[in-house]
Symmetry: C2
Subunit: 280 residues, 2 copies
């Protein structure tokens, strides 16, 4: 299988490593608008060759877009304009707008909307890892709009990456993603900003970081290029979740201000239920 | 060195493991009001024997209180009433109130206020781990109110646990702890409550958890017994931090509502600075 990967960052690079090692890819062509990233991906052996977007489209059986959500919105229609037999898939964290945008495209059947739920807070081809996807879930959206052949190919690729396949409508996906991924990132960015704002001495942040801060703030290292378009595209779903989150914080604040231990214990015990769900 | 550990949970149990393995403790007496925890600690080999509080005090050169902050407030004065040569230390996450409470005690010199900044979200003697403290920071507070002998002993114990010693006034400690530990826990509890409230299908939470939620919500597994007294005792420092945090979330919300990418990118880039500090 000849694969072209557009966007040679953490996700594109990690897919390249395991798709090649596990013999799914026989040849990988890479495209990246950053010359630095492109050259690094070649030097690291993630891709066999670098090419222009047009060459990469022509060169492949399967085209994977692993680029920020706003760039996918621009590029996907242009790529579909040019494909013949090629199957195209993306890895974006918001699916509704992009599915809407290309829903009447004459090559809609060639496209499979996917969201592999895996990542780290690091970016770039240097951050690419073998095993990043193993055991995680991938959400395939609106598969009824894709050809069976396209869905089967993308499923077999995620099978090689050891991902658990979940089917969901793109609208449902975006609601759920707001809850369990996007809000976590906002929570973490805001926490980093809070601490950076107030702590004069950076040394103190470091010394005290093992108190739990390092865990909740991990996602605050994530890149603006990737996350700002996600927040913009999924605003409709994120805003009500953010409201609920702020309300929960305000209930907590009131309980703390009133030194209302019974209320705090009740809230914490309720929050603890997440333990059972995550270890299920 | 004969050591008595009051409270045989994650922290007390983990100290027991490494203080014995590393030959600092020759005999460990354990006390726990939960019979289940006490017996488990004995069965797991964390302690050599179980005893009453009075026996444990009499039996030791060093007494470590590893119990919730509200219980320390009750027990510490009673323990100091009964000590002769014994050195007493605690591991609580709030230091101001307890230092204030015993500041005029005739045995104040025998007490060293300490906060080892290490832990996991798990509780009980079953959660105890070797190496939990290695490479982390321990804050010693108000050491000028303790005898040199007491401070030296507690320092040498934390040396054996491979902790980096930081000195701080108890008031300063509580301000910093609010920023880098307590707010992280509130942020995480509130996030768990938000998601549990809205997500009808627990299956979906699990499937999507690899999107970052598992990291930010890890601390929401922490126990109410431990955290409710911390929030109560450190309310004065936590409330202004919580206000700042809610304000930051509201700025984010406004930027998302306005689809103001420039503002989002600026905030995320600023939040990213936490990367340099935490990897320093």
């Amino acid at each position: 299988m000849r694969i072209s990967i557009i966007g040679l960052g953490l996700i594109g690079g990690s897919m390249a490593i395991d798709l090649r090692r596990r013999k799914f890819a026989t040849h990988i062509t890479g495209v990246d608008t950053s010359k630095l990233n492109a050259q690094a991906a070649l030097n690291l052996g993630l891709v066999d060759e670098l090419a222009s977007l047009d060459q990469a489209i022509e060169n492949a059986d399967l085209i994977i877009l692993a680029i920020p959500a706003n760039v996918t919105m621009q590029l996907l229609p242009q790529i579909l304009d040019k494909v013949d037999h090629q199957i195209v898939t993306d890895v974006g964290s918001v699916k509704g707008l992009v599915c809407e945008k290309i829903k009447s495209h004459s090559k809609r059947l060639n496209y499979v909307a996917a969201h592999p739920m895996a990542g780290t807070e690091h970016s770039g081809p240097w951050a690419a890892l073998s095993g990043l996807f193993d055991g995680k879930a991938v959400i395939l959206c609106d598969c009824e709009a894709s050809s069976k052949q396209a869905v089967d190919l993308v499923k077999s690729m995620y099978g090689v990456l050891n991902m658990h396949i979940v089917h969901m409508g793109s609208t449902d996906h975006d609601t759920h993603a707001a809850y369990v991924s996007h809000i976590s990132h906002i929570s973490s960015f805001a926490l980093a900003l809070t601490v950076l704002d107030k702590e004069q001495s950076e040394k103190n942040i470091f010394n005290l970081a093992s108190g739990g801060f390092d865990s909740t703030v991990r996602l605050a290292k994530s890149s603006a290029d990737m996350w700002s378009p996600i927040f913009e595209q999924n605003a409709e779903n994120i805003l009500p979740v953010l409201d609920t989150y702020i309300q929960q914080l305000q209930v907590f604040k009131k309980a703390i201000a009133n030194k209302d231990n019974a209320q705090m214990v009740e809230m914490i015990n309720k929050a603890n239920r997440i333990k059972k769900i995550l270890s299920a």
